[in-house]
């Protein structure tokens, strides 16, 4: 099962190589692209293997399961691995053209690989302390990425980011310590097994609560979201796009995993909490987006609002709810990245992210308008885009489970999202160009930027159009999440060293 280590080894190897060719940007570009392509191939071949034996497990160092660190790939983890590799490719290409040379030489691509390393590790690990380490890898890379270039507003945003995330990390460690003191194990399968067999203790429940608060901070859910709009809009938009697609989604993924393994047997307690948090996250995100006039801010607030939908799927914890949540995560990764990329292009052509300064895009650059239109429609949930299907499955799941309130909130928020997207569309694209607007820059635009943005838009469109073919995999993933026993058996019964 060596292949499970490749998503970690490839970025690590790339980091080493990138540090060697630090001075030569051309080599850095080629290496970064090759690395991401290799990761995509690896992720796809893991997915291919899942057909044969449902869950892949590998034990690092050959230590048997509850003692060593286990790595596990089920459908959920693999789908997300593929999604991250798939969107990392356009982001790397976009960054080559978009981000200035100084930042590129400052280690941008090394940090990208560091971020991917952390994300891949967090998807695959089955050990809570190892998970903590991957979170730290992500935190370090993302913190340097936020401050890279050290513009004043970047530093201001980064302080909030760092403080909030360090707080989250310390809660995370505290929770790990509590869990270990109660159960004497850090292996996620072993913990779940012990909770199921022995039942929960009050101290263990507080540990799980701490876990959820820690991941809530990372995922920017209500009421821990305020660091996100403060920090995300500050770095160059390619970096913002990467953050929006990975960091918060890992937080949600881990919540999903933990809910499936440690909390779902206590549904009566957890479900209302998750629903309340989900509903408030949706509402707050969308209302704040409605009151902003900066494209980056609006999109950042929508990240928060859409985290609420994913949480709703976790709370439903039904086949269609979980599959919908997972589909929604992937949809959001793609659409949000595409939207940020289009916003970057708007900035390039019109010199601003401020809606008051923009206008006339449709007249001057119709292609650009199209590049923004697709992800915007997708985020708002207009058929036949991926956003529509994601919301459809969630709403169907909500009605199926009889959770009327949260479902109605989801629908209302969806309409408000549409309002936000129409606002951007009207202000930036439709209305005549502002007189005070900055003159469209005539600087030659790197074709790589447009190609990357176009590719991301096509991915978004494709995800929506192929939903009937791909949805089986999402349902498969949801079925695995619904049955944590599969996870436990896969990890604990696979005691053979990796050699055999």
């Amino acid at each position: 099962m060596m292949i499970l280590f490749l998503p970690i080894l490839i970025p690590l190897l790339t980091i080493i190589l990138l540090l060697i060719v630090r001075k030569k940007l051309a080599y850095q570009h080629i290496l970064s692209v090759l690395s991401v392509v290799a990761q995509l191939i690896v992720a796809l071949s893991i997915f291919n293997k899942l057909g044969e034996s449902t869950i892949l497990v590998a034990q690092a160092g050959g230590w048997p399961a509850p003692f060593g660190i286990s790595f596990l790939a089920d459908y959920t983890a693999t789908i997300l691995l593929i999604a991250v590799a798939l969107l990392a490719l356009p982001i790397v290409i976009y960054s080559i053209g978009f981000i200035d040379k100084v930042r590129q030489q400052g280690g941008l691509f090394v940090l990208y690989q560091g971020l991917i390393l952390g994300v891949n590790g967090a998807f695959l690990t089955a050990d809570i302390f190892n998970l903590y380490v991957w979170f730290e890898v992500m935190l370090i890379s993302s913190f340097v990425l936020i401050t890279l270039g050290a513009a004043k507003q970047q530093l201001r945003g980064s302080v909030k980011y760092l403080v909030m995330n360090l707080l989250g990390s310390s809660l995370f460690v505290a929770a790990i310590g509590l869990t270990y003191s109660q159960l004497g194990t850090l292996n996620m399968a072993d913990i779940a097994d012990k909770i199921m067999k022995q039942g929960s203790t009050p101290l263990l429940n507080s540990a799980i609560m701490l876990f959820f608060i820690a991941f809530g901070i990372k995922a920017a859910v209500f009421p821990f979201f305020f660091w996100l709009p403060a920090s995300y809009p500050t770095p160059p938009i390619a970096i913002t796009a990467f953050f929006g697609a990975t960091l918060t989604k890992v937080g949600v993924y881990v919540m999903l995993r933990f809910y499936s393994l440690f909390a779902n047997m206590d549904e009566a307690f957890w479900q209302p909490i998750i629903f309340i948090v989900a509903g408030l996250t949706m509402l707050f995100g969308v209302l704040m987006a409605a009151s902003s006039y900066d494209i980056r801010k609006i999109l950042s607030f929508h990240i928060i609002s859409q985290i609420g939908y994913m949480l709703m799927g976790i709370g439903l914890f039904s086949l269609i709810g979980l599959a919908g949540a997972l589909f929604f995560i992937v949809h959001n990764m793609f659409s949000k990245t595409a939207a940020f990329m289009a916003a970057g292009l708007i900035k390039r052509f019109k010199g601003s992210y401020d809606l008051n300064m923009l206008g006339g895009l449709y007249k001057s650059k119709p292609i650009l308008a199209f590049l923004f239109l697709i992800p915007a429609l997708s985020l708002a949930g207009i058929p036949p885009t991926s956003g529509f299907f994601g919301k459809l499955f969630l709403v169907m799941g909500g009605f199926q489970s009889g959770e009327w309130l949260i479902t109605i909130v989801a629908i209302v928020v969806s309409i408000l999202t549409l309002f936000s997207m129409i606002k951007i569309w009207n202000e930036a694209v439709w209305k005549p160009a502002e007189e005070k607007a900055v003159e469209p820059s005539n600087q030659k635009l790197n074709p790589l930027i447009i190609a990357a943005s176009f590719a991301m838009t096509v991915f978004t469109l494709f995800l929506g159009l192929t939903v009937f073919w791909t949805f089986d995999s999402f349902t498969e993933a949801a079925a695995q999440l619904l049955n944590p026993q599969l996870y436990i058996d896969a990890v604990l019964n696979n005691n053979r060293p990796a050699l055999n």
Binding site: L9, I16, L19, A58, Q59, G61, G62, P497
Partner: protein
């Protein structure tokens, strides 16, 4: 801040700190110590020197840029984690052990030591990189 005491102390402590860092690093093989602490000590030797003589002087003492050491450290860690596969007696990150005998000494070395050496370089490189960047800032 220019003080003669600090200068002399830094000058003479530097080799001791470096040797001590290697000792602590090797001691970490079986006892408390290890690459992290050793790397911190090695980095501190240079940082102390920079504190006394200034960053520019200290930079002349470096064998290579800190980023080189960070890369080297990652490389060593990666190699040590793959050794288990190459030698064929285990999987990824499996330790490989070997015993050397010479002149009455018996030395048992394994790939964990190589991994630790990687940690040593990463920590030392990172420390020097970070602290030098900050020290340069306020000049």
């Amino acid at each position: 801040m220019e003080t003669e005491i600090l200068k002399i102390a830094a000058k003479h402590l530097k080799p001791f700190l470096l040797i001590l860092s290697l000792f602590v690093f090797y001691r970490g093989h079986n006892e408390p110590g290890g690459g992290f602490i050793g790397g911190l000590m090695a980095g501190m030797a240079l940082v102390l020197y920079a504190g006394a003589f200034g960053v520019e002087e200290a930079k002349k003492l470096r064998l290579a840029k800190p980023l080189f050491f960070i890369g080297l450290g990652f490389g060593l860690a990666l190699i040590s984690s793959l050794l288990g596969l190459l030698v064929g007696q285990g999987g990824f990150m499996t330790a490989v052990w070997n015993q050397w005998q010479f002149a009455g000494f018996s030395l048992k070395l394994g790939s964990p030591l190589l991994f630790d050496l990687g940690v040593y370089f990463v920590v030392a490189g990172m420390l020097v990189k970070v602290i030098f960047s900050v020290m340069e800032e306020d000049v």
